[in-house]
């Protein structure tokens, strides 16, 4: 028996994701998990550990190294009536499955006028910061945000990861669920040379048992502030927060959590209050999701803006292996942008 003073239960991102899969699979026998190495081994990041043992090989199984086949088979399973949760081992590997996502999963409901749907959630670790080189570090979220019919979700902490993944799996539309792998085991402030802090010291690692949802399309104010608004998601929420704390800036950091559908109301309210907006993402700059955010902010908040909307992003190069920390949009790049915004 635990007393009333018992410590709350804390999980890291991997454990939270694993629990979301387990909880939804217990409640819905139509949910199946498939992907490279997800079965007996439990996934290269351990996100599906124990699931095959618990739910059997009919519901959790390995696949050929064939992303087109993984997504294509998942679309067919969805048409049958299952609710597949395929894993693409790295977001960088998703491209062979793009036609099945863009032309098929995203379009079934529309082209069949609702006769067939693709209730699939494609989980995939994404982003850099783990010395993955150019094929294990990319952040391709803008490509998916550009596709009508897809939802794109990016959690930044264990609590959201579980609640968003449950909401994504229960959603009847196809969802791309990108997991920032740099923060699987602890939030990352961008100071790569400092020791990693584990999730258990972070408020958002308190994860309730059982079923709960974080609704898609809802952003969250991580901090309240009036000097400027920072729009970010995934790893960059933590990096931006650390920079603002270090600088003693009273910033309002908005964690978008899902980029499609986008919570425009929270963005609009915050930017109208602060009058200044910084957008931070790790992905490359040109036609990145920051471009869309920047356009939306000026469309919705132009007469409240006191300075041009600023973007801090990865550079428009492939993700370099040895120069990872020169590439990463870390504290220096963010700090410089904030200084410029606040001086205007």
């Amino acid at each position: 028996m635990s007393g009333p003073q018992a410590e709350p239960r804390r999980l890291n991102m991997i454990e939270a994701i694993n629990e979301a899969l387990s909880v939804t699979m217990e409640g819905d026998p139509d949910i199946v998990v498939l992907g490279e190495d997800v079965g007996y081994f439990g996934g290269v990041f351990r996100a599906t550990a124990g699931l095959q043992e618990k739910f059997g090989k009919n519901r959790v199984f390995d696949t050929p190294i064939n992303e087109c086949g993984i997504i294509g088979a998942a679309v067919g399973m969805g048409a049958y009536g299952l609710r597949p949760v395929p894993e693409i081992q790295f977001a960088d590997y998703i491209y062979p499955g793009m036609d099945q996502l863009i032309s098929e999963a995203a379009r079934l409901r529309y082209r069949s006028a609702g006769e067939f749907i693709a209730p699939i959630t494609v989980r995939s670790p994404f982003g850099g910061g783990i010395f993955g080189g150019q094929t294990h570090s990319q952040s391709p979220e803008a490509i998916f945000a550009h596709v009508s019919g897809l939802k794109t979700v990016i959690p930044s902490n264990p609590y959201d990861a579980k609640g968003l993944l449950i909401a994504a799996i229960e959603d009847n539309d196809p969802v791309i669920f990108f997991e920032p792998k740099r923060i699987y085991n602890g939030p990352f402030t961008g100071y790569y040379d400092k020791p990693v802090e584990p999730w258990k010291k972070h408020d958002d690692s308190v994860v309730p048992d059982g079923h709960y949802r974080v609704e898609l399309g809802t952003a969250r104010n991580v901090t309240e502030g009036d000097e400027l608004t920072v729009l970010a998601y995934g790893t960059m929420v933590h990096v931006a927060k650390a920079v603002c704390e270090e600088k003693g800036i009273n910033a309002e950091i908005v964690d978008l959590r899902t980029i499609v559908p986008l919570d425009i109301k929270v963005i609009e309210k915050s930017v109208k209050k602060t009058g200044k907006c910084l957008i931070v993402h790790e992905a490359t700059r040109t036609s990145g999701f920051g471009a869309e955010l920047s356009a939306l902010v000026q469309e919705h908040c132009f007469y409240h803006l006191e300075a041009p909307v600023a973007r801090v992003t990865g550079f428009d190069t492939p993700y370099p292996h040895s120069l990872e920390w020169a590439y990463f949009p870390g504290p220096v790049r963010i700090g410089e942008a904030i200084d410029k915004l606040l001086s205007e």
Partner: protein, 433 residues
Amino acid sequence: MGKSPVNADEARGNKPKLSLHVPEPHYRPGDAVDFSHVEITKAGDQARPDETCDAKDTHPLCLDLIRVLGDDDKAHGPWNPRLSPDTLRTMLHNFALVRAFDERMHRGQRQGKTSFYMKCTGEEATSVSAAMALASDDMVFPSYRQQGILIARGYPLVEMINQIYSNKGDKLKGRQLPIMYSSREHSFFTISGNLATQTPQAVGWAMASAIKGDSRIAATWIGEGSSAEGDFHSACTFAAVYNAPVILNVVNNQWAISSFSGFAGAERTSFAARAMGYGIAGLRVDGNDALAVFAAQQWAANRARSNAGPTLIEYFTYRAEGHSTSDDPSAYRSAHEREEWPLGDPVTRLKKHLIDLGEWSEEQHAAMDLACADEVKAATKEAEKNGILGHGLHHPFSTMFEDVFEELPWHLKEQSEQAIREREIKWPEGKKP
């Protein structure tokens, strides 16, 4: 210019210079056609292994050609499905109805009633006879030339025409290119214009059926041209790995728009022979032989239902008409190919077989053709009450934004309002777009 090392060519041995092979069809426009190089087997000569045999026992059949209907119009050998005269007449009627439908829809496109149409002339058996060998609730994942499946499954012609006209009766709300049907009720998956994507989906559906311990199987159709797509390799690999209860039908009609089958690898081996590399069952079948098509599909269905795994079937046939109403085949192939095609016409062959059995006559056939033409004409008139393409009788503007997602998000709501505003400006009261 950089200088190559002296004697580098010599060092590699006395070989000719490398040269690229770009396939070229046997005949181009105006050429006389001689198909004597196409090996035609004797009907009835091909062995029929048990449906649950080892996949390798079928592999000799991948380079053979399964035929039942002989030049004598009789059914021969172990692949004879021994269908009743009633079933054969139903099949022939389906053929005739498909052909009448194709004729009328093609003409309708020429008359400006719609933007696009695709006939399946000469390939009727590959969809009709195959569909008749499946259960009506086995899930099919067709490509774009399998209208015969819908007709064999009794899908109303009016619904097909509504879709072709993109009119207000179109269940797909005018969103899809003509002939890209969908009917969940008839276990007919929504057709994609992106080729071969349906093949791994069919395998996934079949895997789901196996996961659930269901008894239904899946079947998919693809042209030989798009069998070159990676998706088809994905489908074969997944089908083999999970022993999925699925049938992979490759309709080898020799032409992919203007590219002959050589551009999909036909100069090297048969399409059925792909099965050998995946270790799955494979059959190569005379696609203009209705009985052979039925028998092969039935064999593969029985195999799938016995948990004995997938089958890849190549139907060797000929695309007698253009690719679509947007295509002019006289620009790239000899017009004599159609008349010289050594496997004849599937409708004529089945008709002659029924006559030979004493179960049909030329008079009955002519009457049936007339009745089919009338039936299609009546359905066309009925569908035209719902409008033809571009004449205003389409779905309301708001439907453009529905079904992108289950619920309409704010940004699509905004865009929907824009479209409605524009409508009032572009087409004021009284005028129709």
